[in-house]
């Protein structure tokens, strides 16, 4: 039964709306304190997803860092903002760097660890439905918040999902609200890495395959930010409704597309 709203309750409601908190930023202050005092739990959190020495050598041995993205001119105006949120860039080219960024292989921070159920709940709370490839079975773990607003779902290596570069991960699916428009994206191949326009169902998609690479992001200030959260496995990027998905794996293109085609809401 709804609660009766008398004058006192309405006056309290108004009081709540007008509460004036201090101008401080406790989130930034708390994060700064946590960064300044790493503890075992924080180290554990990073340790789980950190690649072994061999993976670090593989990644450090990569002669080129691949900067992957979508040219802004290929993106419809309505979806440009979504793409910018997804990749953190507004104008991207496939280029190579002569140096190996120090971030490669250092850490793979996928975000805040939560259970897959919690991740689905957080997505629900944020107003979108989290899906995952049903053929992959239940994800082993989930992380939220990297990139901002995204959910990372992780499956352990298995015979079906070989380990990606000694990372301890078989499949990594990142889901994020926002869409890409792949129309007009052409095949680009340099140095053994290819970016292809493919389809997942009736949706355009990108397939990125080749040598281990790092996704680097040019932020709005023009600074290059190395996204060390990525495993640099073969990558499929596609959309389902308003959600952009990214699948990283050791699968080949057709296997990845088949897997992506089994996308279903996560129970």
């Amino acid at each position: 039964m709804p609660e009766p709203r008398d004058d006192v309750i309405l006056a309290l409601d108004e009081l709540g709306e007008r509460l004036d908190v201090s101008p401080g930023d406790p989130v930034a202050a708390a994060v700064a304190r946590i960064r300044a005092t790493p503890t075992q739990s924080a180290r554990d959190r990073v340790q789980w997803a950190r690649p072994g020495p061999r993976a670090r050598r593989v990644l450090l041995a990569a002669a080129a860092a691949l900067l992957v993205g979508l040219a802004a001119t290929l993106v419809a105006p309505a979806s440009r903002h979504a793409v910018a949120r997804w990749l953190g860039i507004g104008n991207v080219t496939v280029t190579y760097s002569g140096e190996v960024p120090t971030a490669v292989g250092r850490t793979y921070d996928l975000g805040t660890p939560v259970s897959p159920t919690q991740a689905a709940g957080l997505a629900d709370a944020a107003g979108w439905r989290l899906s995952a490839p049903s053929a992959a079975g239940d994800p082993a773990r989930a992380f939220v918040g990297l990139p901002a607003g995204a959910v990372n779902l992780v499956w352990a290596p298995s015979a079906a999902w070989p380990e990606i570069a000694d990372s301890g991960i078989g499949l990594l699916v990142t889901a994020m609200p926002g869409t890409t428009d792949a129309g007009g994206m052409s095949k680009q191949a340099r140095g053994g890495t290819t970016v292809q326009l493919v389809r997942v169902g009736d949706q355009a998609a990108y397939w990125i395959e080749g040598e281990p690479h790092e996704v680097a992001i040019t932020d709005t200030d023009g600074d290059l930010v190395h996204d060390s959260s990525r495993l640099a496995g073969n990558t499929l990027i596609w959309t389902d409704g308003d959600i952009t998905y990214r699948l990283e794996s050791a699968l080949d293109r057709d296997e990845a597309i088949d897997l992506a085609s089994t996308l279903r809401p996560l129970a």
Partner: protein, 174 residues
């Protein structure tokens, strides 16, 4: 860490309002929120699978706020500050209406401050922070029946403390 900051941003507003209404001191409230967010980070491993994040986080913040209130002791005042009326798409309130609205808020705020803290916490969580009965119970660590009874007693006491009719509206037509 950026992910955790993003998560906190989603719940920052209610956390700050909660700390403020429990502490009754903006400075203490800020510290309580900050400490609560830090403790929550280190307690993430203990976050129960399937539980809702918001009540879990707010409970940590509420505990921090209550600890500060206890430390401050009986001499500590209880002071809430309120933003002034602003025009919201229409004309700004007249100076007279703004004065009346500010006076009304001070009156209700003073009545709230006069409540016993256990009742005030429940009333504030329910009506100033906007938590429902179940969330209030989770955040304050109380049975739902206790939340219900304290809210009823708190509201009854407020009605007794306030003038017979509290005019609301606050933008010039009250």
């Amino acid at each position: 860490m950026d992910a955790y900051a993003s998560l906190l941003r989603m719940h920052e507003g209610p956390a700050r309002r909660l700390a403020l209404v429990v502490c009754g001191s903006p400075g203490d409230a800020d510290e309580a929120v900050q400490d609560g967010f830090v403790k929550a980070w280190y307690g993430l491993a203990g976050f129960r699978d399937g539980a809702a994040f918001r009540p879990w986080l707010l409970r940590i913040v509420a505990n921090e706020a209550r600890n500060r209130r206890r430390s401050a002791g009986r001499r500590a005042g209880y002071e809430l500050r309120f933003a002034e009326d602003r025009a919201s798409g229409g004309a700004a309130p007249s100076p007279e209406a703004a004065v009346l609205a500010a006076d009304r808020r001070r009156t209700v705020g003073a009545a709230l401050a006069a409540l016993p803290p256990p009742q005030r916490d429940v009333v504030a969580c329910r009506y100033l922070v906007g938590l429902d009965e179940a969330e209030t119970a989770a955040v304050l660590g109380l049975p739902r029946g206790t939340v219900k009874s304290r809210a009823a007693r708190g509201l009854a006491r407020l009605r007794a403390l306030l003038p017979e009719r509290v005019e609301i509206g606050g933008t010039g037509d009250a």
